[in-house]
Symmetry: C2
Subunit: 123 residues, 2 copies
DNA sequence: GCAACATCAAGAATGAATTCTCATTAACGA
DNA sequence: TCGTTAATGAGAATTCATTCTTGATGTTGC
């Protein structure tokens, strides 16, 4: 059976504390504050399992490696800062957008990504 | 100076004829109809130069390799068919979406991707 | 507490996309 | 047409994210 290890706890805590999607490298950096000897392979192993277990969801953004965020957050979108490369969550949504597709196309989902400067980089 | 080769012409014609963003592999397959001995390295070489020359633009979509489309098409978005994996252009746009970002964030651009079934795969 | 064994850390290995190498081909100015 | 040389084709090499391997470690059931 699965064991509750310090490393997995550190990985989950890092994602909960960040409250934004993190890449494997970011997860490593954040979680190492709690578990200093943590290695990147352990991040990948645990992230894979946490996604399978439904605790994390993968967030794919254009031209960027996969990021991961805690599951059950409801429908939302993302903001990608072009300076610091961090990704943030964005609350609203302009609607289902089914009207944009050409006739005969069937829209099942949509993704919106905003680009620009985050609060810190805009200051 | 740059030469006008059959291969480069075939690559551009393939992209113009397709009227949708193509991946390097798709460009190879389409352009080989016009230039059968075309190789993948030549596709990458020419695509890189055509992007630098401003004739093509790179289209990045979530979780997908880069695709390329002819430049100067105006603001538009994309539809990614989950069955055939082809990407199509979509005309409209719901607006600048600057209101979605949190306070203090500065929105410079946005990308919208629709997912579902294209006309052929929905039939 | 202790033994069994799931998990770990570190580095090697993998895989896929992209780029490089180099002998050959072909574009184009004279 | 011809010579120069940019561009090509094919396969090797590279890159980088991710996964595997190994011996060591730490968690859990008893």
């Amino acid at each position: 059976m699965a064991r509750q290890t310090q490393q997995r706890a550190a990985i989950l805590k890092a994602l909960v504390a960040a409250d934004r999607p993190l890449s494997p490298g970011e997860i490593l950096a954040h979680a190492q504050r709690l578990s200093p000897r943590l290695g990147i392979a352990t991040v990948y192993r645990n992230v894979r399992r946490l996604v399978l277990d439904g605790e994390l969801v993968e967030v794919q953004l254009p031209g960027a490696p996969p990021r991961y965020e805690v599951a059950r957050k409801g429908h939302h979108h993302h903001f990608h800062c072009r300076i610091c490369d961090r990704v943030f969550e964005v609350e609203g949504c302009p609607g289902p957008l089914t009207g944009l597709a050409p006739d005969g196309f069937f829209v099942e989902a949509h993704e919106i990504v905003l680009y620009g400067l985050c609060r810190e980089c805009a200051a």
